[in-house]
Amino acid sequence: MLKDKLRKARKDAGLTQKQVAVAIGVTESAYCGYETGKRQPDALKIKQIAEVLGISGDYLLDIDAPESAQDGAGLTFDDFTYAMHGASGDLTERDKQLLLDMANQLAAANRERKKNASGENPD
């Protein structure tokens, strides 16, 4: 549910309710209401919260990736997350493109694995 995802994402980001509230321009009480389910943020607020917490709005809203994206075709930067070892600087545009290519490669491999698994268990 949205409220649970908000709370988890905020804690993962190491932020307090007040910090997020200030960042998105609402009172702490209003933001607290989002996390308890007493209030519902509108689309703009969800977008702002997602940006502050570094997550996707689709994740907050439980919107699944479109079928084409699930198949690994035409992924965007919103469709995956990453981590690195040994990086000493910011990502260049080439690095970002490399990450996108990797995400596509992973999606294709995952699709292949699922296909093989279903082939092994025909019933």
């Binding site: 930067f77 981590a83 040994g86």
Partner: protein, 146 residues
Amino acid sequence: MPVERILIEAYADLLRRGVIFFSGNYRFDAGADACTIKYGDTFGLFLDSGRIKTPRQEKEAVVHEWVHIAGDATYRVDAPPAIRQKAEESARRDEIKKLLPFERMRGAVQNGITQIYELSEFFNVSEEKVRMAIDYYTGPCGLTFG
């Protein structure tokens, strides 16, 4: 050189988690030698064969990515720097605990292995990791090796 237990443990756990492995000459401009991608619920671990040349480098890269995956600590390409740094700091702490457990490190120091280069050789990790471990244990953890 035999494969170290920690690397076997890392690969075994990654396989249990269904991680898909890739290898290639990626050459990130940012200097990374390994990268984790999370797509849906699936993790992919990409090792740069052009940069990982020794078992030690492989161990450090795989263990670092392992703790990211085990902790589900990945971030978006456009994540704010603070979130990226938090995830990386957390991964570095967990990585240190795996590569250089405090009790083993203290035991080594008490047995006369006190220089950075000696500890690096003893634990088969880079001197950078030894410095990170010393900073972490004596700083935020408030521990001493004496």
